[in-house]
């Protein structure tokens, strides 16, 4: 095969992508229409998909191949980000778009699916390689995988992989149960647990920033870093998904998966090599080092919040309990903040503050690394306390980039200092459109690169971290709402940091 390797040119084009078919369960759903199909279309536009590639959609809606193509065409048109729709390219792309209607729990549907896959393998030369993407309600994951196995579609001439979206269970116990059922059909190496936060360019850039540069890593420890704040704020509410959301809450929805993965990327040790398992081993090791709270510690180090109604910018915003489909006495956390500690040599004693919430003042996700203040305050600064610690902010969205705050002398007489910011702005330095998280992750699943996917041991380690908090909260009756829509969360979250002499920054 050496000759084929010599035809590759990774500096200029994607290394050969294997031929394959992508089966999307839930193809008529929101995720498929808003994210998956637009991502696959973009990959096709950039010629990153192999010529032998086909998509086979499934959902309950009765549709022909042609009607499915038309539905997807409209979705791609509507939800394509940062690029324009091209009719000619769509026409070439959609030629290999197929559809099988049917119920996920109906064995006959899988028989039809198998026949269509055989046909596609012959006509589109997909070599028997199949990615099954479960874009369905999480409650169906295990059953669909079992049906795929029962129909014999989990094995064939080529490789078979299954991609599932979070949540991976509702708690540690259900995560293990789901895993047991998935593993009865697919081996771990073929299970791709998607966490789209890990596909974001800035999160990946954290690895480059930390391990590609020599100047930061020596400072990346308890001797120089005072604390870390991770914020994922949304300005919107539950957007009609109140009924679903009240079963979940922000701790499960964001912290257990996305934000713990982000934290692991910030705090992990350098891997020996940049290979999927080496990177994932380090992330998993970090997650296993996060302190597991006792019930008392969980009470002290976690804050739940729920937004109440407010008038913001002349608009009446309903409280969570007033959202359609939400129980008027719901105990759901639409805000969660936790203080975590990593019990290892690098991070002992450094608090990691993580907060996430809905209906906050703006949509922002960032990581702020606050360094220790200088040991001696030589200069009075604007704040009058003589010190203003350095702050490194990694912005994940919306303006991706990295800023370093440091003090500078104000021009003019006297020695007056003022914080200034040194900015790296992704859009300014790399004007090219960055791939969306789904483009990156779908391509990785096709090429078999699991670096940015989570692994079962990481899933379980994350559940172990949040489980004591979930248990403590399940025993409490909260006096919700405790923060107004449009604010930065409940006062208790400020108090939690104040106890350590810290304060939330305003992103």
């Amino acid at each position: 095969m050496a000759g084929f390797d010599l035809l590759s040119d990774p500096l200029r084009f994607q290394v050969r992508v294997p031929p394959c078919a992508c089966v999307i369960f839930g193809a008529n759903g929101d995720l498929a229409r808003r994210k998956l199909l637009p991502a696959l279309y973009r990959l096709a536009c950039e010629r990153r998909l192999p010529p032998a590639f086909a998509i086979l959609g499934n959902s309950r809606t009765e549709m022909t191949d042609e009607a499915f193509r038309e539905t997807m065409r409209e979705s791609v048109r509507q939800f394509l980000e940062n690029s324009s729709f091209d009719d000619a390219l769509w026409s070439a792309f959609s030629r290999n778009l197929f559809y099988v209607p049917g119920d996920l729990h109906d064995p006959a549907m899988y028989a039809v699916l198998g026949r269509r896959l055989d046909e596609i393998e012959r006509t589109a030369r997909t070599a028997g390689n199949v990615v099954y993407y479960l874009s369905t309600h999480p409650g169906h994951y295990a059953a669909v995988v079992e049906r795929v196995g029962a129909a014999g579609l989990h094995a064939g001439r080529g490789w078979r992989r299954v991609v599932i979206e979070k949540p991976f269970g509702r708690d540690l116990e259900s995560a293990r149960e789901l895993d047991r059922r998935l593993h009865a059909v697919f081996p771990e190496k073929d299970i791709y647990r998607i966490d789209h936060y890990l596909g974001k360019e800035t999160v990946q850039n954290l690895l480059a920033f930390r391990f590609g540069n020599g100047i930061f890593e020596p400072l990346w420890n308890r001797r120089y870093i005072n604390h870390v704040q991770i914020t994922a704020a949304e300005s919107i509410g539950v957007e009609g998904r109140g009924a679903y959301y009240q079963q979940t809450g922000s701790l499960r929805d964001m912290i257990q998966n996305h934000l713990l993965q982000v934290m692991a990327t910030v705090a992990m040790e350098p891997p020996a090599v940049f290979e999927p398992d080496a990177v994932r081993d380090e992330r998993a090791k970090l997650l296993r080092s996060v302190r597991i709270f006792t019930p008392e510690e969980a009470d002290r180090n976690a804050v739940a919040g729920q937004y109440g109604p407010a008038r913001v910018g002349g608009v009446e915003i309903p409280g969570f309990r007033q959202e359609p489909g939400v129980d008027p006495d719901a105990q759901t956390d639409t805000y969660a903040a936790v203080t975590l500690f990593v019990d290892n040599w690098r991070w002992a004693g450094v608090p990691f503050y993580i907060r996430t919430g809905k209906r906050m003042p703006k949509r922002v996700t960032d990581i702020a690394i606050r360094f220790h203040a200088p040991p001696l305050a030589l200069f009075p600064d604007a704040a009058g306390d003589g010190v203003s610690p350095n702050l490194l902010v990694v912005r994940i969205q919306p303006e991706e980039g990295i800023s370093l705050r440091f003090l500078s002398k104000q021009p003019g007489k006297g020695m007056h200092l003022r914080p200034v910011s040194m900015d790296f702005h992704y859009g300014a330095s790399f004007g090219a459109r960055p791939p969306t998280a789904y483009e990156t992750l779908l391509m990785d699943a096709i090429t078999g690169d699991a670096t940015l996917y989570t692994r079962q041991d990481m899933v379980e380690a994350s559940w172990r971290v949040v489980q004591p908090v979930l248990d403590a909260w399940s025993k409490r009756r909260f006096d919700f709402p405790n923060y107004e829509a449009g604010s930065w969360g409940p006062k208790e979250a400020d108090d939690m940091l104040a106890r350590n002499g810290h304060a939330w920054r305003t992103p």
């Binding site: 050496a2 035809l7 500096l11 010529p51 004007g431």
Partner: protein, 328 residues
């Protein structure tokens, strides 16, 4: 005789930055402006007409490759040696801050090129790589730019204007004697061809690359261009037992088609019209769009590459050998 001094150009530039910042402050702009610069791009235009095109292309490149661009604009003998500083700014959609790049345009009467080149070291943004882009046939007189060579990380040329490929490779070899790496846009324009071929070969699941016996490159023009030689050389690098063949055909673009065959394997790519290329043989897709690469796109691709380009280096050596063998 007008003088162009780095200090005065840099002072002009600093004054423009200060004016921009002041304008931002008076407009109570929250975020102000951001200077974006990832490299120095020195552009040698071929003539006055080409200088205007070069300025346009450089302006378009700034979005993806923000640089301090220094454009040498040839002028008539009686024109003054002169420099102009321009800040090119744009506001990315949905963001609050303007992003600005620096461009210095130096008008250079031919007799004063050496004077102008002496100014350039003082104008380069510090600690960033410098790339020289010799447009048109200007690279054939690269000796004139020798003064800059120690400062350069890379020299980008275009062999396309040369009809006779046998001239190309000795000239490139001479250029490559310095420490700067050399890139040829004729090679860059082949990326889409190469990508399609690599994908098709991959899709065909060919088990033994050694079985391929012939690679034929169809070219326009009487003799194979440098691009045709590059493509054949790249294929021979992959199919080591194959022999190259060239065939002249009518059409546009330097490469019109490719056939790879042997041991029961057959793959053919043929440009039909416009951007469409028909693929026949083992691949599932019958036609793909392979747009002719624009100057901007090709430059953008080259500027995105830092460090050595092993594939090009090896292909260049093979192509030079092919060109030598084909000499009458």
């Amino acid at each position: 005789m007008a003088a162009v001094q780095p200090q005065s150009i840099l002072r002009q530039m600093a004054a423009q930055w200060a004016a921009l910042a002041e304008a931002g402050a008076s407009g109570k702009s929250e975020a102000g402006v951001m200077r974006a610069c990832s490299m120095n791009l020195v552009v040698a235009a071929e003539d006055e007409t080409d200088a205007a095109r070069a300025c346009q292309t450089v302006a378009a490149l700034m979005y993806e490759h923000p640089s301090r661009a220094i454009i040498l604009k040839p002028a008539t003998r009686d024109a003054a040696l002169d420099a102009q500083v321009i800040l090119q700014c744009w506001m990315p959609s949905g963001e609050r801050r303007q992003i600005c790049c620096e461009r210095i345009e130096i008008t250079v009467p031919e007799a004063r090129l050496d004077e102008a080149l002496r100014v350039i070291p003082g104008l380069l943004a510090p600690d960033l790589p410098a790339v020289l882009w010799c447009r048109g046939r200007s690279w054939l007189q690269h000796e004139r730019f020798r003064r800059l060579h120690p400062l350069l990380e890379r020299i980008v040329v275009d062999s396309c204007p040369l009809q006779n490929a046998s001239q190309v490779f000795p000239a490139l070899a001479a250029l490559r004697q310095g420490k700067a790496r050399v890139a040829d846009l004729s090679w860059t324009r082949l990326t889409l061809w190469r990508e399609s071929i690599a994908n098709c070969v991959s899709a065909c699941l060919l088990e033994d690359s050694g079985a391929v016996r012939t690679v034929e490159v169809r070219h326009t023009g009487e003799r194979p261009s440098a691009a045709a030689l590059y493509l054949a050389a790249w294929l021979l690098r992959g199919f080591r037992n194959a022999s190259p063949a060239f065939r002249s055909v009518p059409g546009d673009g330097q490469v019109a088609g490719v056939t790879i065959q042997g041991g029961g394997f057959h793959l053919d790519l043929q440009r039909l019209h416009g951007d469409t290329v028909r693929i026949s043989g083992c691949a599932a897709m019958e036609a793909v769009s392979l747009p002719h690469a624009s100057e901007e796109r090709s430059m953008s691709e080259e500027l995105a590459i830092s460090g050595s380009d092993v594939t090009f280096e090896q292909t260049l050596a093979l192509a030079a050998g092919l060109a030598q063998r084909m000499q009458p």
